[in-house]
Symmetry: none
Subunit: 145 residues, 2 copies
């Protein structure tokens, strides 16, 4: 279970520290991919395999499925730690998430999310006011992701 919020910066070589608390839960190799809403998702291999198994049931003849799979899998990379606990973020992911200097790394249960500080602040200030409404309808629908 990943929880918490950490602030770190990415360096010129595209390296970013993953907070110590998250490291052992991720294992040696893990997956970084594009998330929804301008952030990156980080999954342990186990969580990732669960998602991929479900995606593989989607047919390539359906347009929405093709688009989602392209988006999600093309953004994915296998990451490993260097001796200092950092990972390399590939340049397509850097530009997607707009992380050039200050980053926010948050734990969200089964995954970690990486945000640029700017996007995170934007998201947070706008989301926090609507949280009461969002909570209201959260469990009304049939399917939960």
């Amino acid at each position: 279970m990943f929880i918490g919020e950490y602030h770190h910066s990415i360096d010129d070589k595209g390296r970013l520290i993953i907070p110590c608390r998250f490291r052992e839960k991720l294992g040696d190799k893990f997956i970084v991919t594009r998330g929804i809403e301008n952030c990156l998702f980080v999954y342990s291999l186990e969580s990732w395999n669960n998602i991929v198994n479900k995606l593989e049931t989607l047919p390539f003849t359906k347009k929405d499925a093709r688009q989602f799979i392209r988006f999600f899998l093309s953004g994915a990379t296998i990451a490993e730690f260097d001796n200092q606990g950092r990972i390399n973020i590939s340049s397509p992911l850097i530009s997607y998430a707009g992380i050039y200097k200050e980053c926010v790394i948050i734990g969200t249960g089964d995954r970690i999310e990486i945000w640029s500080e700017e996007s995170w602040n934007d998201f947070f200030t706008s989301a926090k006011d609507s949280m009461s409404d969002i909570a209201e309808n959260l469990f009304n629908e049939s399917v939960n992701l």
Copy 2:
């Protein structure tokens, strides 16, 4: 499983690097064919056989089936690597995908896709805005995530 996004360019001789990470999964010989949405699909022989088997279950009495099979099989060519890990793209495929200089090579699970940088950018900018909506409904149909 093929994942990731790579940017390379095709040279004047029609040669294109396949990223190192993809090479061993493809094997010595593999298939390049026309894809849906102005890109090329690259399959290992194994995945290719799976698809062909499925296509063979379609009846030639159906017009859509005839058209799709023509499209998909007529574009197919067997490719091999040169010593530097490059492949030759035949000129019908080059003109179909419009790849003359900058290319984007992405992994999408059981296949690789080759896009011209321009087509990819067009696809991506429009897809990323609709991704939130697509994700919302993706598993509402028969399959649940």
